[in-house]
Structure formats: structure tokens, C-alpha cells
Symmetry: C2
Subunit: 143 residues, 2 copies
DNA sequence: CCTGATGTAACTGTAGCAGTTACGACAGGC
DNA sequence: GCCTGTCGTAACTGCTACAGTTACATCAGG
């Protein structure tokens, strides 16, 4: 499937902001984060903008501007990050409406919808078990 | 994210083959299945070709050709169908290698990989709870 | 006012999915 | 042995989304 790296980059950015804070940094700039992720600063600003709408980070403008976490890193789970950056459902139903005169075509969307819902729920529940603080700890633990 | 409908169409095709068999049909043709899914027969043949490589269906060529399930519908789970049609991992790591001189950039891929693995595992485990026979039953139950 | 950073718009390149046409390969029936 | 119907597959198009980039307006502190 179309696997994208939005969750990866968002988690990286949040972990960097948190580590920077622990090192005494007031705020982190998109340029600094982009340097660690190895991408363009605009890509970071776009992603962090979605995280701000979700209430996970705050930004300051003007001179001495930058980003910081809106809540402790321990309380931000990857499930919240996922919800903030991936709005579309994981599985799509039919591109075109199936044949309603066929018993399968008529009922299959109603049959699959709860299955997909439960599967996404299981995915989110597992992501909820990891926080941004966990990501920082595990990253620093790599030799 | 790029949600595609490959799992949906594959499940629909398998359910249709099973229902057709229960109605006395020897084999199902891609044209018949495409008529129920409301798509092109080539789309069906491509998808069923992947399911055949996974050992879920068999095809016969020549006159009177078509498709049938390789195993009872009760024993084919959506987790197997998902594995057959979606080879790529759900979450991608970084598009470009992160900055190795940064502690976060150096360790984050190793930190995220098991998290993503566990999340996908939870997804597959939930999909494994539904079989093609369940899909047929639930589809027919829709008024 | 100057400076440095955010906030966006606009565009490009790339990739995958879905759809379509076309045609070769195959196997059974006549 | 040819006809027919279906699979098997290549090739192409249109569409969408992600990632990257440039450009510029906006803002706030010094």
C-alpha cells in the first residue's frame, strides 16, 4: 500500500524538540529539526502545523521564534500523532458502487466497514502504548 | 494516507466465488466477478493472480475456465488476503537517511521499527478474526 | 526599522492505484 | 484441426498523494 513516512517524520520532530528541551533549549526551529531529519524545513513546518491543530505542539512567531511541546513528552502517544497526521481511513471501500442487484455487492460494504473499524482500532491501541518520551529513550539507547 | 481498495476488492471477489459455488457454480469468471464489483475484468484477474500466488485460489484456463477457492471459505482469513495483496509495510521510515551525527537521527529508526512491527501485528491479528465465510454471511444478512 | 523565523501558496518530480485496450496462450467442443 | 471463451499480461492513460523546493507575506522582538 501507499506507505508514507509522515508518522515517522512527525515522531522524529517531536523527539528532537523534547531532547532539545532537555538540553536547555527554549524552542526548536524548523531549520534545526529539518537538519536532523534530513529534509526541507517547509516539510517540517507543514507537519508541525497539523500537530499544532491537534494541540500537541505550540509555535511562536517573530524573532526568537520556534516550536515546543504543548504537553509533557510522556503524555503524547504515537496514536495521537497518527490521528493528527493521517486523517484518511486505512482501508478504502469500493472505488465505484458495487452492483446492488448482486447479494454480495449489496451487502459487502456494510459487512466490511466494522471489520475495518476494528482493525484500525487495534492499530491505534498498539500505537497508544508508545509515547514520544519512549521514542527519545529508545533512540538514545541505540549504540 | 493513500488508502487503496485492494483488500476490499479481493474480499469481494472471494466472497462472490464462494456464494457462486454454493449456488452450484463450478468456477467463476473474472467477467462475472467484475460485474458484481463494478470494475474491469482485468483488475479482477490481476488481483486474483496475487491471491493464486498466495495459494488462496486456483484458476483453470481454456474453455469453461474460471476461478475457485483453493481452500474452504471458513479457513481463509482476511489477514491472509491482506498479506497477499499488500506487500509493502504500513509505515515507511525516513525518505532520506536522517542525520547520523544527531542522537535522535542516529537511533530513531531502530526505535521506531519494533513499534511499527507491533502495530502491524495487531492489525493482522484483528483481520485474522474474520474469514471469507464471515464476509459472505454478513453480506447476505444486510436487508 | 531590521532581523529571523513562521505561515502558505505554487510548482515539480515521483510513485502507486484504477481503468482500459490489445493480444498472446491455453484447453475443451465441434 | 479449427473455433470459441477465458486466462495471462503488457502497455498506456488519468488521477491522486507525498516529498521536495522556491518564493514571499506575516509577525514580533531588539
Amino acid at each position: 500500500m501507499g506507505a508514507n513516512s509522515r508518522l515517522t517524520v512527525a515522531a522524529h520532530a517531536l523527539a528532537w524538540i523534547e531532547l532539545n528541551r532537555r538540553m536547555g533549549g527554549e524552542v526548536a526551529t524548523s531549520e534545526q529539526i529539518a537538519n536532523s531529519v534530513n529534509t526541507n524545513a517547509v516539510v517540517i513546518r507543514r507537519l508541525l502545523g497539523e500537530l499544532r491543530e491537534a494541540g500537541l505542539v505550540e509555535s511562536r512567531r517573530g524573532a526568537g521564534a520556534g516550536w515546543r511541546l504543548a504537553r509533557p513528552a510522556e503524555s503524547i502517544s504515537l496514536a495521537e500523532v497518527y490521528r493528527a497526521v493521517e486523517e484518511a481511513p486505512l482501508f478504502a471501500l469500493h472505488p465505484a458502487e458495487p452492483n446492488q442487484e448482486c447479494p454480495v455487492g449489496h451487502g459487502i460494504r456494510s459487512a466490511l466497514a466494522p471489520v475495518y473499524g476494528d482493525a484500525e482500532e487495534a492499530l491505534r491501541a498498539q500505537l497508544a502504548r508508545t509515547s514520544v518520551a519512549d521514542v527519545v529513550r529508545d533512540s538514545l539507547a541505540v549504540p
